[in-house]
């Protein structure tokens, strides 16, 4: 059986689920960030798979480029915020940073 | 763009393996020669004789060293993180070796003639970064860690001017394919990019200063990326013992060592390809030209720059960290961006 679109979609679905799991369960903020990167990657796989299997339609790749750009900005700003959190709390365990609750 | 291996055996898995092995086969003797060069040139510079015992005038000294390294006990510190400690040298070496995949040796031989060669070289450089961090952290030694972090900071900082140089050349050449870039410069020596590229007319002379500046920028950046003197801060032995590979010994150290020499060749080859016409003959297409001569020219020119690097190591003192950062961010980066803009403008009006 040739490798079809379904394979890639399943791959990206699994990757997404793993990323989601990491995002939800990890205490460390940077770990959450890593989970987010996984999710973004799974999305990118989908984009490019659709782009490839809908003929060589490069729009999907362009979207993937923008996703990468977004990932970069997100990582940069998230890390900056995490550094700030670290300076204030001396830790980055986000389940303990729940000021939002009050 | 042909590949003579495919021409010889056809497109099959054996051919692919052969193609993969050829650079490796090249690296081993090259490393020996480079080590010998380092020893002998250093000795010459410092007005001493250098190693003389092994072989004629000590030419077999590198072989002896390699044998020594292979024989040495492979020590892994008990408090080190073993999986990563063991993995790190391989990743660093992968990073260096992957670049050989797109480096042309001749008109007829390039392991993988992908269209994005320049970009690829640029990208796989980051493997080395991860490997260095991995090794430095896994060693569980503060010198290692400090050296790793310094190294990473340095490499990332100098990737930017290097990237601008790549971009400038890609703009003027209209491609990222190394073979095409070299073909653009084929012909007499003044077709090389350092002499203004293949275009004729008076505008050529407007290009020259910018290319010369870019050439110097890339030379400096390449020294920094390979952690060579005067940018050997990550492994400055008088400060942090040996940097990220302090704890390594034996075969793993040899991997690091090899990766460094491989990197030296890679950056030299890139300089040659970008500015000095790659495998093309300086005498034009009529004299000393052809696939075999191409290998000669390519490797010869690259070796010259390896020599330059060794030469500089024995000549220049080490920079401070802040000087390094200043140079990278406030001198080279603006300079390279300015040159890029100028070249893009000139290319547009040309």
């Amino acid at each position: 059986m040739g490798i079809g679109l379904t394979h890639y979609l399943i791959l990206s679905g699994i990757l997404f689920a793993i990323g989601l799991f990491a995002v939800i369960t990890r205490r460390n903020a940077i770990m959450v960030l890593m989970g987010l990167e996984l999710i973004l990657n799974s999305a990118n796989i989908n984009f490019i798979a659709f782009s490839r299997f809908g003929g060589i339609n490069l729009d999907g790749q362009v979207a993937a480029i923008f996703v990468i750009v977004l990932a970069v900005t997100e990582a940069a700003i998230a890390l900056a915020i995490i550094l700030n959190i670290y300076q204030n709390y001396k830790h980055i365990r986000i389940d303990e940073i729940n000021k939002l609750k009050e | 763009m042909g590949n003579f291996v495919f021409d010889l055996i056809g497109k099959n898995i054996v051919a692919a393996l052969v193609i993969c092995i050829i650079p490796l086969v090249f690296i081993l003797p090259y490393a020996l020669i480079a080590i010998l060069g380092e020893l002998k040139i250093g000795a010459w510079m410092q007005d001493r004789v250098g190693p003389m015992r092994t072989g004629w005038k000590g030419v077999l000294q590198p072989v002896a060293e390699v044998v020594k390294l292979l024989q040495k006990e492979d020590i892994t510190p008990t408090i080190a993180n073993k999986p990563l400690f063991n993995l790190a040298p391989f990743i660093v070496f992968i990073g260096a070796f992957a670049a050989f995949a797109v480096l042309p040796f001749s008109e007829k031989f390039i392991p993988s003639g992908i269209n994005l060669g320049l970009f690829f070289v640029f990208a796989v450089g980051s493997f080395a970064v991860i490997g260095i961090v991995m090794g430095g952290w896994a060693s569980n030694n503060k010198y290692s860690l400090l050296g790793a972090m310094r190294s990473v900071a340095q490499i990332i900082s100098y990737e930017l001017p290097a990237g601008m140089v790549f971009l400038s050349i890609a703009t003027i050449a209209g491609t990222l394919d190394m073979q095409t870039i070299i073909l653009n410069q084929s012909g007499p020596i003044w077709n090389w990019y350092i002499f203004g590229g293949p275009q004729g007319g008076a505008i050529k002379f407007l290009f020259i200063p910018f290319f010369v500046i870019l050439f110097i920028v890339y030379l400096i950046s390449s020294l920094a990326e390979t952690n060579r003197t005067p940018f050997d801060i990550p492994e400055g032995e008088s400060e942090i013992v040996a940097g990220y590979h302090t704890e390594y010994s034996g075969m793993k150290f040899a991997m690091f060592f090899m990766a460094e020499y491989a990197n030296m060749y890679v950056v030299s080859a890139i300089i040659v390809i970008l500015f000095l016409g790659g495998w093309s003959s300086p005498f034009g297409t009529s004299f000393m030209d052809g696939p075999i001569w191409g290998i000669f020219w390519m490797v010869g020119k690259a070796f010259f720059f390896v020599f330059v690097q060794i030469w500089l190591r024995w000549t220049l003192p080490r920079l401070r960290v802040d000087q390094l950062m200043y140079l990278g961010w406030k001198v080279l980066l603006p300079l390279s961006i300015a040159c890029f803009m100028a070249i893009a403008f000139l290319a547009m009006i040309n």
Partner: protein, 170 residues
């Protein structure tokens, strides 16, 4: 052969991603990401998106991963090799596991059931040249606005990150 490559890389992606998600050592997680990203790049190559594959390597491995590792090193006491960072709790672990499992199943269900999906790969003529030229043209024509916005976003992100991460005691 392509099938084999796909399965190898898929296994590599899922395995390393699982390491990322389940290991207690943050740096293990970070280095496991290296393989995930590399695997994804390989998948891109299989999907004949060469430019994106190399971009993936350059940006994710050379940029984001380095950033993350630096973030870990700056926010954690890295001189201890065993950096243990746990999970938010057993309950949430289980709930999240169920969530993720459901999501995963849902996506797989979608992959099989959605009507627009063509199971067989379209037999299209792969371009000889790299995708970089058409991509560049698209970015400069159809997606010019998005491209410009993205560049502005990047610039703002740089400035913002520099502002936020700046030490405030000076």
């Amino acid at each position: 052969m392509l099938e084999a490559l796909f399965y190898i890389f898929a296994a590599m992606i899922i395995g390393s991603a699982a390491v990322t998600a389940f290991t207690k050592n943050i740096l293990y997680a970070a280095f496991a990401l290296l393989f995930t990203f590399f695997g994804v790049a390989a998948i891109y190559v299989l999907l004949s998106a060469d430019f994106l594959a190399i971009s993936q390597i350059m940006i994710y491995i050379g940029g984001i991963l380095v950033l993350i590792i630096f973030g870990v090193m700056l926010t954690t006491n890295v001189s201890i090799v065993d950096i243990k960072e746990g999970f938010t709790g057993k309950t949430s672990f289980i709930i999240a596991g169920i969530f993720s499992a459901i999501t995963c199943i849902f996506f797989i269900y979608l992959a099989f059931k959605m009507p627009f999906i063509n199971h067989a790969p379209k037999d299209v003529k792969l371009p000889n040249d790299s995708t970089i030229k058409p991509l560049g043209k698209l970015l400069m024509t159809n997606y010019l606005l998005a491209f410009e916005v993205a560049s502005v976003v990047l610039l703002i992100a740089i400035i913002g990150a520099a502002m936020i991460a700046r030490r405030h005691d000076d």
